[in-house]
Amino acid sequence: MANQQVEFELVSPEKLLLSQNVDMVVVPGEDGDFGVLPRHAPMISTVRPGVIAIYSGKEISERIFVAGGFAEVTTERCTVLAEIAQPVSELDKATVQQQLQDAKEDFSDAQDDAGRDAARKQIELSEARLTAIG
């Protein structure tokens, strides 16, 4: 089993971001994080904003932030469809805090429900990013 790996793919609408064989990948599912190892039961899940952790061996080799999406898991493959994805190492705490601040201002300035909804989404995203940076 040691030589078995999961084919992990991270896809954005614009391009295939990542396609590699990994030992294990942990995906932030809607109902909680789940780890995918080879021969995982097939499933489809929604993904909440959070961090995808890619493991090589027992170490985390890469952490990628995704802003929600979908995951499709089959026995040999794990595909994540995400509209926004960026490596955690590229996130900058000051910028994200600024974004959060802006989003909060937008929220209080919003005139209608649609504007408030959009702002709330932005706030949630920025907070998820902050948690990702840790």
């Binding site: 793919e9 896809v11 954005s12 609408p13 614009e14 391009k15 295939l16 599912g29 809607e30 109902d31 789940f34 039961a41 097939p42 499933m43 489809i44 899940s45 929604t46 979908f70 499709e72 089959t74 595909t79 469809l81 509209e83 649609a114």
Partner: protein, 294 residues
């Protein structure tokens, strides 16, 4: 002699036109390559989305209370036609062909007593529809490829469309765009977005080995998330295909324009040389006959 100068001027003006058209052709070729790469790069997402949607639609689509995006509103009184064309002209019949297709469909629908609304993507699509359907155009989005054609542009469109759908402003939504077949051939086509129509090959109800997916949290919830996103993806796909088609069409249009300009220069040059020779001959005859008369 004035005639000679006129010809000279015409030759030089055709020459500079030729320079412009051949430059535009090269620019279009470079942009076409980029657009094609972008279209290819976006394919994996759309494919996987279609696969998930196919299997979900089979398991959840037939249940009562399925999302109206999938099952429709039960009526087809109001049609929204999204007409995706380019922002700029000079690309042969590209814009006209798309608009023609949409116009044909619109007249069919109006004849059948339906209400038709338009959503224009690209300046040219609005310009061409404005005269006939001005009051029916609900919205227009321009500058789609500035600074670059990104997914956010498609989201802008789909957010607006979904907002209108939720508000019950239309029942059926169709997008018109040009499918990119080759540089020489772009096919104007129509695709129904709402209610969702599974494509022919998306009937994968399970996996190859016959096992079935588990859904987390539940198939209905995933479907509710997936369907609106699928609309954005389909619009994005149409925009990308359109971009490639536009550049392809412009490339071949500019290619033939350059060739035509070349032919024109040739024939003008011949005319110019003949006129010049005729003038010289005339002058000689005048001089000789004057000499003889003396």
């Amino acid at each position: 002699m004035a005639n000679l100068n006129d010809l000279k001027l015409r030759i030089s003006s055709v020459k500079s036109t030729q320079k412009i058209t051949s430059a535009m052709k090269m620019v279009a070729a470079a942009k076409l390559r980029r657009a094609q790469e972008q279209a290819v790069a976006s394919r994996p997402y759309a494919e996987r989305m279609a696969r998930m949607l196919g299997s979900l639609a089979v398991s959840a689509g037939k249940q009562p209370g399925a999302s109206p995006l999938l099952a429709g509103t039960g009526k087809d009184d109001v049609h929204l036609l999204i007409v995706a064309a380019a922002d700029r002209g000079l690309c042969g019949g590209f814009n006209t062909n798309i608009v023609k297709e949409a116009r044909k469909k619109a007249y069919e629908l109006i004849k059948a007593g339906k209400t038709v609304k338009f959503y224009c993507i690209g300046r040219k699509s609005r310009d061409q529809l404005r005269r006939e359907f001005g009051s029916r155009i609900v919205d227009t989005i321009e500058d789609i490829a500035k600074p670059s054609l990104g997914f956010d542009k498609a989201t802008t469109v789909s957010d607006r469309v979904l907002g209108m759908f939720d508000a019950g402003e239309f029942d059926v939504c169709t997008i018109f765009y040009a499918k990119f077949k080759s540089v020489m051939l772009q096919v104007p086509s129509a695709q129904q977005l709402i209610p969702f129509e599974a494509e022919g090959d998306a009937d994968a109800s399970g996996l190859a080995d016959g096992s079935i997916y588990d859904y987390e949290p539940s198939d209905e919830k995933i479907l509710r998330d997936l369907l609106p996103r699928n609309i954005s993806i389909q619009i994005f796909k149409a925009m990308l295909e359109n971009a490639a088609s536009e550049h392809g069409a412009r490339m071949s249009a500019m290619d033939s324009a350059t060739r035509n300009a070349g032919e024109m220069i040739d024939s003008l040059s011949i005319k110019y040389n003949r006129t010049r020779q005729a003038n010289i001959t005339n002058e000689l005859i005048e001089i000789i006959s004057a000499k003889e008369a003396l």
